[in-house]
């Protein structure tokens, strides 16, 4: 493979073309739109038309207007709660999977991941009908006797968004936790057993610390997906469940203020990048080769 030396001019031009193409595609369709978007956040709107003069007005408005920061903060809290719920449910399930042998382990994993591929809109709709006033959840709670009569606790409010997002995103938490649990060497667990540790001690001192990287990536996954979702809150949140994604989306619809929407997106992107970085930082397992 004597390449560079014996290259003909024609070949060299071809390889230059390939290089330009390889760089051009991602740059044109990903980087350029994002940069334009960022630049837009410094524009403003006057009487329905966009004013192409740089201003910090959108960012000032975001920080000073009494509406946006509280909604932003509430949405962050909501999405952290979604992540916590997902992990509390996903961890035991993922752990159970690793106790299974051979094909059962992967068959069950597949079973828990398949709902991911199922139509997202339909799932939201079905969950909404389950949570609704005449829905299954209310019927079950009344039947058990926890509630006297059907309650509107889970209809068109923040609770509804919390439950729906958690239900939608559990599989995203199962996979990373399962992978990190599966990577723990069996010898460590056996050694701990040999040294006289109880099952609980082994879990708390060996398994749990070594699986924390998986938990961190799961949390960051779920958080990022939850905070970027604007359809679920729109559908199950009603009037009281107002999230940041909905405000952002409305800037491109009814409110019609693209530059301000772009500024809100920048705020969203910063939170998402932080979440991804935190997930990366703690998601790197240090001791896998032990």
């Amino acid at each position: 493979m004597s390449k560079a030396g014996s290259m003909q001019p024609r070949e060299r031009r071809l390889s230059l073309l390939v290089t330009v193409l390889a760089f051009a595609l991602p740059v044109i369709f990903v980087l350029v739109p994002l940069v334009i978007f960022l630049v837009y956040s410094f524009f403003s709107v006057d009487q329905g038309t966009i004013v192409y003069a740089p201003t910090l007005g959108n960012y000032v408005r975001f920080f000073t207007d009494p509406i946006f920061l509280p909604v932003f903060w509430n949405t962050v809290v909501l999405c952290v709660s979604v992540a916590v719920i997902c992990i509390l449910l996903a961890y035991p399930a993922a752990y159970f999977l690793t106790t299974l042998r051979g094909r059962w382990r992967y068959a069950l994993l597949m079973l828990l991941l398949v709902p991911l591929l199922m139509s997202y809109v339909i799932k939201i709709y079905a969950i909404r009908s389950i949570l609704g006033l005449n829905g299954f959840l209310n019927k079950a709670l009344v039947a058990i006797g926890i509630l006297q009569q059907p309650s509107t606790l889970f209809v068109f409010n923040m609770n509804a968004i919390l439950l729906t997002l958690s239900l939608l995103l559990i599989p995203f938490a199962i996979l990373p936790i399962f992978l990190s649990l599966e990577r723990i060497p069996q010898t460590l667990l056996r050694a701990s057993d040999d040294l006289g540790a109880s099952g609980l001690q082994t879990f708390l001192r060996i398994t749990l610390p070594l699986s924390l990287p998986g938990v961190a990536s799961a949390a960051s996954f779920v958080f990022v997906l939850a905070i970027g979702d604007f359809l679920t809150p729109q559908m199950v949140g009603g009037i009281s469940g107002f999230t940041f994604g909905r405000i952002l989306y409305s800037q491109f619809g009814t409110a019609y203020n693209w530059p301000f929407g772009a500024a809100l997106s920048v705020a969203l992107a910063i939170v998402v990048i932080c979440a991804i970085l935190i997930g990366e930082r703690f998601g790197r397992s240090r001791g896998t080769s032990v």
């Binding site: 739109p33 159970f96 809109v121 709709y125 079905a126 389950i130 239900l167 992107a269 998402v272």
Partner: protein, 266 residues
């Protein structure tokens, strides 16, 4: 992991069952109602019917949306597999500029879809491209490219270099080596990537809503219908899509899980 005593195993199994029930209940509702009539929140188990499926066959609105979705999906698959494979081939074994471009390719997948979608929306407006199926296809391709690229690149990295070297030693030209050695070795990864790309495109809702024109794909159509409530034939559609999805999953697993692991398990 036999260290745990019995009660904890039961507890774990119970939670796992709960999770499975939670995950499948939203799918269960429309499937049951595709075969049975539901009135006032109660299922009438006595009379199974296929009428919803017949109604679906006559719902031209939904069928048109389904056809649009399939067209978008196929275009996305072709575009993303071709460009993803070329990019993987190009960056494989090349250091300069790879990490930064890889980062750019992964951005639309990492960023919330609302950000990718809005960025594209503004971009299309600035370059004067009307919103249409073309913009939807571009949006989907940008979104799924990372998956195809990564799938193919991983296969390339696990491919033994000696194969390529042997081909050159035996006097094959660069093109011959590519067609006879590299491409056949990549084919299953490309098929697996294509299936994943199609599945993602088929259900993509958020980017599509932002960049679509007058023609809507199935998820967007369903989204628009949801405000008013669904007609029963939608349930039939959901049941069919679920079956189709499970089939895709099984296929994807066949192509993506390495042979060794598959034989070990069977």
């Amino acid at each position: 992991m036999n260290a745990l005593p019995r009660p904890s195993t039961i507890f774990l199994a119970a939670i796992t069952t709960l999770v499975a029930v939670l995950l499948y209940s939203p799918l269960f509702v429309p499937i049951v109602s595709s075969f049975f009539t539901i009135s006032h929140g109660d299922v009438d188990w006595s009379s199974p019917t296929l009428s919803t499926y017949r109604a679906l066959a006559e719902n031209h609105d939904i069928l048109a949306a389904l056809r649009t979705t399939l067209i978008v999906g196929l275009c996305t698959v072709v575009l993303s597999v071709v460009s993803g494979t070329l990019l993987a081939l190009y960056y494989h074994g090349r250091r300069s500029g790879r990490s930064i471009l890889q980062f750019i390719i992964f951005l639309p997948f990492l960023m919330p879809p609302i950000i990718s979608g809005l960025a594209l929306l503004i971009f299309f407006r600035e370059i004067g491209l009307e919103r249409s199926l073309l913009t939807v296809v571009i949006g989907h391709t940008v979104f799924v490219l990372a998956i195809v690229y990564r799938t193919v690149l991983m296969r390339l990295q696990s491919m033994s270099r000696t194969l390529v070297e042997a081909s050159y030693d035996l006097g094959a030209t660069g093109w011959q080596t590519f067609w006879r050695i590299i491409l056949p070795n990549l084919s299953s990864a490309m098929v697996g990537g294509a299936i994943l790309a199609f599945a993602l495109s088929f259900d993509e809702t958020m980017i599509t809503i932002l960049v679509t024109g007058t023609q809507s794909t199935l998820p967007v159509r369903l989204w628009a219908m949801m405000r008013l409530g669904f007609s029963p034939d939608i349930n039939a559609l959901v049941a069919l899509i679920l079956m189709f999805t499970v089939l895709l999953c099984v296929l994807a697993a066949r192509f993506l899980i390495p042979r060794q692991m598959a034989t070990e398990r069977s």
